[in-house]
């Protein structure tokens, strides 16, 4: 195994795509993702990655080109963010319903307007139901490891779904982090070559993307849903295998200091590490608080979430996007609906913050927990709190 190095996380993601021997990269520049595809362009130009690099004229075409290259059986990678993910929107649904195992890194970013290139989760939440496997990473090591795992998961014949690997724009994408890279030989042993079973090939003609009238559309959607749900077993299997080889274990729901905790703070993405520091401080002050982190966003880890909140009285959810005119934070709203049927369910409190690149400090997280506990005691209803809002 290679020595620990310092590397910008965008470059670590590009390095993972290189070590995976990506064969086609279709890319369009957009902040804060651009460093990923710039690095890949450089790797291709230097002959370090034997891939076709398609410098497309839009994100819509980036994802569309990915459909084509993946459908002929080439291992395909792209990356995007914010407006780019939204421009791809309709293509995302086709990638998943066509069962094309494209891997895409998303440097999560706010959505206009007002124009804002900084990080939050508005882009991914708008693409929540597009049928992709979606994984949130917390740090550079995770972004690197889980990008590699994404290829192996997506291309498994029991899966054949595209995967988004989310990393927070700037807060993660532009950080230089210390991480353990992997050697090419290690990755080659972990990731077999891509073999798409329904590849477009004149030797064996197939019709891909036929249209489905009402008599078949419902069944097609149900089949897709069942197939996406059942990918969780393979995801777990691949993560276990990754741990066996490289000694780093990943799980759909991560817990931190949850033993004996009455109050749980639920986070996603890079802000989780800051939240963990706040949890440490509160623990030192004798508070019975812990943290859970959703790593797997789709398929939603219902079972793991039940297990994680089993003994909690209060769950405080931090959302980095807002469902305008709806129930506040979309993650909280999912957590609520996932736990609603439990006989003994915790109080769930919704916080929205960190929008458009605004920081949430350790002290902020401490306040969130304290305020959340207070609101839970009062009974919160559909109320949500906006963090650090200037009135």
């Amino acid at each position: 195994m290679a020595n620990r190095i310092g590397m910008e996380v965008s470059f670590a993601v590009a390095e993972a795509a290189k070590l995976a021997r990506s064969e086609v990269v279709a890319a369009y520049p957009i902040t804060p993702q651009t460093h990923i595809v710039e690095k890949l362009a450089e790797l291709v130009a230097e002959g370090e990655l034997d891939a076709e690099y398609i410098p497309v004229e839009s994100e819509h075409s980036a994802m569309s080109a990915c459909l084509g290259s993946s459908a002929v059986g080439a291992r395909t990678f792209t990356a995007t963010a914010g407006q780019g993910l939204e421009l791809m929107h309709e293509v995302l649904f086709v990638a998943s319903s066509s069962r094309l195992p494209i891997v895409m890194a998303v440097a999560n970013r706010a959505i206009s307007g007002p124009l804002n290139v900084w990080g939050d989760h508005s882009d991914v939440m708008a693409a929540r139901d597009c049928g992709w496997i979606q994984i949130f990473t917390e740090n550079g090591q995770e972004a690197f490891d889980l990008t590699l795992c994404a290829f192996r998961i997506a291309e498994d014949h029991r899966v054949l779904f595209p995967i988004m690997v989310h990393l927070d724009g700037f807060h993660l994408s532009h950080m230089v982090e210390s991480l353990y890279p992997l050697e090419q030989s290690e990755v080659d042993a972990f990731l077999p070559p891509y073999k798409y079973p329904f590849a477009l090939d004149p030797a064996k003609p197939v019709t891909l993307g036929a249209y489905g009238p009402p008599f078949i559309y419902t069944e097609a959607k149900k089949a897709q849903e069942v197939a996406l749900r059942s990918t969780k077993e393979v995801i777990l299997e691949v993560w276990r295998e990754f741990n066996r080889r490289f000694g780093r274990q990943y799980s759909p729901v991560e817990t931190y200091a949850t033993e004996g905790a009455d109050t749980l703070l639920l986070t996603m993405g890079s802000f989780s590490e800051t939240a963990s520091v706040a949890i440490d401080r509160l623990r030192k002050q004798g508070e019975k608080v812990g943290q859970i982190r959703l790593r797997l966003w789709r398929p939603f880890p219902f079972e793991e979430l039940y297990q994680a909140v089993r003994t909690a009285k209060v769950v405080i959810v931090l959302d980095r996007s807002i469902s305008v005119g709806g129930p506040g934070g979309p993650v909280c709203s999912e957590v609520k609906s996932a736990l609603y049927h439990l006989k003994e369910r915790p109080q769930i409190v919704s916080f929205v913050g960190g929008l458009g690149g605004r920081d949430i400090s350790v002290a902020d997280f401490e306040n969130i927990v304290r305020k959340g506990q207070k609101l839970a005691a009062q009974g919160v209803g559909e109320h949500y709190e906006m963090i650090g809002l200037r009135e």
Binding site: I54, S61, G68, V72, P202
Partner: protein, 311 residues
């Protein structure tokens, strides 16, 4: 006459790569053109098809008319999908994976998919110089959604979104010149074709297969449903479109224009217009305007062809 027709039929490739049993309207000129294009392309091909009439009539689950590998994804992105196919095949061949023989990559769509919603993706794919053939089947409106105007609808034509009325006279703009736009990308081959001239059409597709870069073929596609014509006149209309100069047959090979047939005298446009219900409301004044424009455009084309010949 009869023996001449038989000769043409015998000279067409026998193979069928687009099967019968599709759901196109009676007298559809587009599906006829598509069948001829597929004959010319042969089997070593991968086709990316935009949403539109030809996609809908050929691929309803669980049926398919496609004897060749075919993919439909969306409306505006078919050139980008073809880009990915071409790039994927290239890298796979380099790595001794995938099909090892030469595979022709084809993107196809209607005039809406080409001249309107898909023009950005098409421009991008031509600029990047992917080796692929783009075929536009031009029936001059959004027929699949029920005859709405596109930027390829001819001046004066009545569609459901360019209806003539007390103060309007149908389509108010002139047809977008897609072939010129394609040629402006400095691609090695662009051409117009027409199913009423099947051997010419097949020859052009075969030529497009040979060039090393993007090729663009714009195919006249009579639509009895949208043009309000009888299903029996589609072929005749195709011939009239050429003889009146409304839809000239020409090629642009590495920038050189070849107009063939180069007609010294054009038939009056009125003949062509009077044959179609979509132009029924046009006054003599408007027909005269159209005549002027057609003559003007034809003269420009002749000039370009003459210049190319002398160069």
């Amino acid at each position: 006459m009869a023996s001449q027709r038989n000769t043409v039929a015998l000279r067409l490739p026998m193979e069928e790569n687009f099967a019968a049993g599709h759901r196109a309207c009676i007298g559809c000129g587009e599906v006829l053109a598509l069948r001829l294009v597929c004959k010319a392309l042969g089997r070593d091909v991968i086709i990316a098809n935009a949403t539109g009439c030809m996609e809908i009539v050929s691929s309803q689950i669980p049926y398919t008319s496609w004897e060749v590998p075919w993919i439909h994804t969306l409306f505006e992105n078919t050139s980008a999908v073809a880009s990915g196919i071409e790039a994927g095949l290239k890298v796979l061949r380099r790595k001794n994976k995938g099909p090892q023989k030469e595979v022709t990559v084809v993107a196809m769509g209607g005039d809406g998919a080409t001249a309107d919603i898909g023009i950005q993706a098409l421009s991008g794919a031509m600029e990047r110089y992917h080796k692929f053939i783009y075929v536009c089947f031009d029936n001059e409106a959004y027929m699949n959604t029920g005859v709405q105007r596109s930027s390829a609808t001819p001046f004066g034509a009545s569609t459901t979104t360019s209806p003539p009325g007390k103060v309007k006279t149908g389509q108010a703009t002139w047809k977008k010149d897609m072939v010129a736009i394609a040629a402006a990308h400095n691609i090695p081959y662009a051409a117009t074709a027409n199913p009423s001239f099947p051997l010419d059409l097949i020859k052009k597709v075969q030529k497009a297969k040979q060039v090393n870069g993007p090729a663009y073929i714009h195919v006249y596609s009579p639509c009895p449903t949208g043009w309000r014509t009888g299903p029996e006149v589609s072929i005749k209309l195709g011939r009239m479109a050429v003889s009146t100069g409304v839809f000239p047959l020409y090629e642009i090979e590495n920038g050189r224009y070849i107009l063939k047939p180069d007609l010294p005298k054009l038939r009056p446009v009125k003949e062509y217009i009077k044959a179609q219900g979509r132009f029924r409301h046009l006054t003599d004044d408007l027909i005269e305007q159209i005549q002027k424009r057609v003559t003007q455009e034809y003269d420009k084309l002749r000039e370009k062809a003459a210049q190319s010949q002398s160069a």
